[in-house]
């Protein structure tokens, strides 16, 4: 089993991904506080990433209403 610890991360468009906890996080990404195995992180993302539209689109759609 892969023992790598991952972090759940999010960008300016509120898109989610995962990144190894021991590697430097690329610029523009923010940890959401969840750490764990790859699967634990992905399960968390399945629960919280309920709207997959990028933030800029959501804002544009709200403005167009």
């Amino acid at each position: 089993m892969d023992e790598t610890v991952f972090r759940v991360v999010r960008n300016h468009e509120e898109q989610y991904s995962i990144w190894p906890a021991d590697r430097e996080l690329p610029a523009g990404w923010t940890p959401d506080g969840t750490e764990g195995t790859r699967q634990e992180c992905l399960d968390h993302i399945d629960r919280v990433w309920t709207d997959m539209r990028p933030l800029s689109l959501r804002r544009a759609m709200e403005a167009a209403r």
Binding site: N11, E13, R23, L42, W49, M52, R53, S56, L57, A60
Partner: protein, 621 residues
């Protein structure tokens, strides 16, 4: 600062198509006599369908499935989806109903655009899904206002199989599609007044770049008749007859086209290929340039393209990155590899899809933070493809990161084996595949398609000699099979599962002729032979050999001497010998089938059969 170049295309496809002159030819139906749809017709039809979609409540962000054969409404339906702010999902009516229903439910489609033939396929959908039979759609006097999409509105959803069973819908945004369109037009120089083809599998993302760049550039899109799509000589004739100048043709069919002479009136100037690994180069002297493309659906059809000239290394590389694609090669730790080193390809930039529709975890696992310096908050798609960058900056496909073919502990790149096979004179096509043998062991099999004028006798031996001279022993197939053609999937990829499996020891007779011969053996030897058992190993000797050949000879009206058993010592070989000597070998299995049937009858049944034949009723036909 966030990365700016991602969506630098202010003019998205719906705008570019809407501004085409009304009288410009847009789409030609596959039926050769049918009149073309001009851009004005296309717009009116899209408006009419949009009015229906709007009336059933379809709006921005919804998914509209298009379940149609290759008709102009494929295009009008997609434009109608965009018109109301939705995206389109192309579905092939030939798709198995179970998979179809899965996709429509998984994508949570708001509407299905279809025809009377496919309406039943769309049945049993959840409540609230509108099934629209387009044959009943009337022109709309007051169409809804056309939606002006945002670069991040979805343009389309395409399902891919993936390696882990359940298909997933790749969701691509308008900004990515606009970038692809520009890249395709820059490479092909497709322009107004030109003719291009629509022939890729209906649910395959190659239809995206067959369709939209052509319409955005003012070229006419010709829908290909079904029979010519995968038949290389017929397709070339069709290109010539229509005057097609630019065409996308999936890799296996392109490989054949590149090896064929050109019809005199061929106007083709660019042949774009992709979808599978290209293993050969064009013969010199073609009037057209060949462009090889590579790209996962998750990165908007294509991310590299390169011209393939007659001379150069094999297999040909997949070319240079398209304008908006940011490619990098990384090792297993995600660190960039050195020059010339093999690494997994990551794709960043505008082609990166939004993700897998309604699959957050799957999306997060495949679309990762872009580690390149200077890119803030960008994402890369992990392709799982291993590539190398050559000294000219071209990318060369090496293999799949997650599908390393291992044979007896050695890594084997199947395309390298195929390249060797294709170098043998008389070989029209070749496929190397790893398949399970009867023993369960994985074996490397070489499938050889002989050229029309090739001497089939000993061809596989000659191919084996060429491969053996070029490659290490573990890369030489252990079984060889001649096949008449390479079966293709609906998407134009090699359908390995549909290729025959080799005969191995213990195999049962393959047809009625072998079954009959095996039956004769069994009657004199007292044991049931497999088709590869040796007659003399099973206790046969020269005295019974004469009995066997005598009975087989009389069954097929041939004179076969007993010594023939020394030339053909197995059931399979003896069947071959009978075929060689018989004046009508095509009828042999049928004759053998009748013998087997009669042998299985009781004397009374035989009598009845004979009397029925006397009265003119052929019970065996």
């Amino acid at each position: 600062m966030h990365e700016q170049p991602d969506f630098a295309h202010p003019i998205l496809l719906p705008e570019r198509i809407a501004t085409q002159p009304e009288t410009e030819e847009a789409v030609y139906p596959a039926d050769p006599g049918a009149a073309p749809w001009r851009h004005g017709d296309l717009r009116d039809r899209a408006a009419a369908i949009a009015a229906v979609l709007r009336a059933v409540g379809v709006g921005r962000g919804d998914v509209v499935a298009i379940l149609l054969p290759r008709v102009p409404d494929l295009v009008a339906g997609a434009l109608a989806a965009w018109w109301v702010g939705a995206c389109y999902l192309p579905v092939d009516p030939a798709c198995p109903p179970q998979r179809l229903r899965f996709m429509l439910e998984d994508a949570a489609v708001a509407a299905v655009l279809t025809d009377p033939v496919a309406v039943p396929l769309a049945a049993e959908l959840p409540d609230g899904v509108a099934v629209v039979d387009l044959t009943g759609v009337e022109p709309a006097p007051h169409p809804p206002a056309r939606h002006r999409p945002h670069a991040r509105d979805l343009a389309y959803v395409i399902y891919t199989s993936g390696s882990t069973g359940r298909p997933k819908g790749v969701a691509v945004e308008h900004g990515s599609l606009a970038g692809l369109t520009d890249a395709y037009l820059a490479a092909t120089k497709l322009g107004p007044g030109e003719r291009t083809s629509h022939l890729a599998g209906l649910a395959f993302d190659a239809t995206v770049w067959e369709t939209w760049p052509a319409l955005a550039a003012g070229a006419a899109l010709h829908l290909a008749p079904e029979p010519v799509r995968t038949d290389a000589p017929a397709l070339l004739e069709w290109f010539a007859a229509i005057g097609i100048t630019v065409a996308f043709v999936p890799t296996p069919v392109s490989e054949r086209i590149m090896a064929l002479p050109d019809p005199a009136e061929l106007a083709l100037r660019v042949l774009v290929t992709g979808g599978d690994r290209l293993r050969s180069r064009p013969l010199p002297g073609h009037p057209y340039a060949v462009w090889n493309a590579y790209g996962p659906t998750e990165a908007t059809v294509a991310v590299t393209m390169g011209e393939v000239t007659p001379a150069g290394p094999l297999p040909p590389p997949v070319g240079h990155p398209l304008a908006e694609a940011r490619l990098s090669l990384v090792d297993a730790d995600g660190e960039p590899v050195g020059p010339g080193q093999v690494g997994e390809l990551l794709v960043g930039g505008a082609p990166v899809a939004r993700g897998y529709l309604n699959r957050p975890a799957l999306t997060a696992a495949a679309f990762l933070p872009d580690p390149r310096p200077g890119v803030e908050g960008g994402r890369v798609y992990r392709t799982g493809d291993l590539m190398r960058r050559d000294e000219h900056g071209e990318y060369a496909f090496v293999g799949r990161a997650d599908r390393q073919v291992q044979i007896r502990g050695n890594r084997v790149e199947l395309s390298e084996v195929e390249v060797g096979m294709l170098r043998t004179p008389g070989v029209a096509n070749a496929v190397a595949a790893v398949r399970p043998a009867a023993s369960g062991e994985q074996v490397l099999i070489g499938y050889v398609v002989p050229a029309a004028d090739a001497d089939r006798d000993g061809l596989t031996d000659r191919v084996a000699d060429v491969v053996r001279a070029e490659l290490p022993a573990y890369m030489v197939p252990t079984s060889w099979l001649l096949v008449d053609s390479v079966p293709l999937t609906a998407n134009g990829k090699v359908d390995v599962a549909a290729l025959p499996l080799p005969d191995v020891g213990g195999a049962a007779p393959v047809d009625a002729l072998e079954e009959f011969i095996a039956g004769v053996w069994a009657s004199v030897l007292g044991v049931e032979p497999s088709r590869h058992d040796n007659f003399f190993d099973l206790g046969g000797h020269s005295l019974v050999a004469g009995q066997v050949t005598g009975r087989i000879g009389s069954a097929f009206d041939l004179d076969i001497p007993g010594r023939a058993m020394f030339d053909a010592q197995t059931v399979a070989d003896l069947a071959e010998l009978v075929r060689d000597r018989h004046p009508a070998p095509d009828e042999l299995t049928e004759i053998a089938r009748i013998h087997l049937m009669v042998d299985a009858l009781s004397p009374d049944e035989v009598g009845e059969l004979l009397s029925r034949q006397d009265s003119g009723t052929d019970a065996t036909n």
